[in-house]
């Protein structure tokens, strides 16, 4: 694989993954050694900055992620303005509800249900000690599994998770119910 191809594939991987992606995972997919991949990534980062691109590659330890450039923040905010109403509390609550009923659950699955990325909500919940890490899933990226904490029980006045109201108590229309059951119980 030549360098142009590598760059192209790496960009596609970072884009599709959208979370911080470990150098070793990139190297594994490309079947190229990590040192070489790290070099190419370094060049790509310079390139993205030099070439007036709208996005950049950010590096955290040995993880890489695509992100918009900070200088475009005002424009991005203008675009997303109608969404501003999404209060932190609501996003966090939705995420917490899913974790409570489906734990242990990786972030990706929560995002699948909510249809949006949940990094911030999860960070908040971790910070408030309502959820905690419950190990990792043995698959690519070894995603962290989240579950509720002892403090979650305390905050909601529950003795144990068994005290969580059964889903059927929800006031859902019957047609919705099937859907809900599918989402919650289908694995």
């Amino acid at each position: 694989m030549n360098e142009d191809q590598m760059r192209s594939v790496i960009e596609a991987l970072l884009f599709a993954w959208s979370d911080p992606l470990a150098l070793k995972d990139i190297a594994k997919v490309l079947e190229v050694d990590e040192k070489r991949v790290a070099e190419v990534l370094k060049e790509m980062m310079d390139d993205f900055n030099y070439n007036k691109r709208g996005i950049q590659i950010i590096k955290m330890n040995d993880h890489y992620q695509l992100a918009t450039k900070p200088e475009h923040y005002d424009y991005v905010q203008k675009l997303l303005e109608p969404k501003q109403n999404k209060g932190l509390t609501q996003a966090a609550l939705e995420t917490l509800a899913i974790i409570a009923y489906k734990q242990p659950i990786p972030k990706g699955e929560i995002e699948g249900i909510r249809g949006v990325k949940c990094d911030k909500a999860i960070a908040t919940l971790l910070e408030k000690d309502l959820i905690e890490e419950k190990g990792r899933l043995e698959k690519t990226g070894r995603p962290i599994l989240y579950g509720t904490s002892l403090n979650f029980l305390k905050a909601f006045g529950l003795n144990s998770l068994k005290d969580l109201p059964p889903i059927s108590e929800f006031q859902l229309l019957s047609e919705e119910e099937e859907e809900v059951k599918d989402i919650l119980f289908k694995k």
């Binding site: 969404k83 249809g115 990325k117 919650l184």
Partner: protein
């Protein structure tokens, strides 16, 4: 058993007819109606013997074929004075027209299949949840109730429904026509005029689930912000909502 699978694969009478036409290398514009009718009917009999469901469409087509067959047996009367249209001359015309129309889309379906296969190779980026930071109340946990959690869950689950029903992901992003902020202002406005309102009255006029939930969340928010106080005299009685005195 391979035969069984093959029979099941027909999408309808036209599909089966096409199969026969192709198998026999028949010119579609000059269908030997006797042969095709016999083969068509023998297929249906096989389907029956294999206990396959024969939908009415297959039977209607069999009847049509038999009708055409019988018409073909009749001598064509050549009328001198009236110029007959082609379709009136040949009983097969209507069938051929329909077969050709169907074939057009059958071919397009194959083109679509290829395009679909290519597009399936694209990956998209999951949507970000962009939250504009707001200073969070440190006491937020004190007011948390099970109802909050359930409401939140119900919301996410029902919005999943919305997604399934109106899958247009683009509109979906903007579907929240009610914002908590707006609802908070609305409630504050009502309270500034009436001082005390009943919980029920807040929801009476709302028909939309989303609006109800948003209103409810707005109320929770106001409670958290210690702007309003709620009081319930008896179990299950209506809840009174009051503006807290600003000291």
């Amino acid at each position: 058993m391979a035969y069984n699978v093959k029979l099941q694969a027909f999408e309808g009478p036209f599909d089966l007819l096409f199969h026969l036409i192709e198998k026999n290398e028949i010119d579609i514009y000059d269908i030997p109606i006797n042969q095709v009718t016999d083969q068509y009917i023998s297929y249906i009999r096989q389907m029956e013997s294999l206990d396959l469901e024969i939908t009415s469409e297959f039977l209607v087509m069999a009847a049509t074929l038999l009708e055409i067959k019988s018409k073909m047996l009749l001598p064509v009367e050549v009328v001198d004075h009236v110029q007959l249209e082609i379709e009136e001359l040949d009983p097969r015309h209507e069938l051929v027209r329909k077969l050709l129309e169907y074939k057009k889309y059958k071919v397009v379906a194959e083109v679509f299949k290829e395009k679909e296969d290519l597009s399936k190779k694209l990956y998209f980026k999951p949507r970000e949840e962009i939250i504009f930071e707001q200073e969070e109340d440190a006491h937020i946990l004190e007011n948390l109730e099970m109802a909050d959690l359930l409401n939140a869950l119900e919301k996410v689950l029902t919005s999943k429904n919305v997604k399934i029903k109106e899958k247009n992901t683009f509109h979906q992003m903007q579907r929240d026509s009610f914002t908590i902020e707006e609802k908070i202002i609305e409630i504050q406005k009502i309270l500034s005029q009436k001082h005390t309102i009943k919980f029920k009255s807040l929801f009476e006029t709302l028909s939309n689930r989303n609006e109800m939930i948003t209103t409810f969340l707005a109320l929770l928010e106001l409670i958290k912000m210690k702007e309003v106080a709620v009081k319930q005299d008896l179990c299950f009685s209506d809840i009174e909502i009051k503006l807290k005195n600003i000291t």
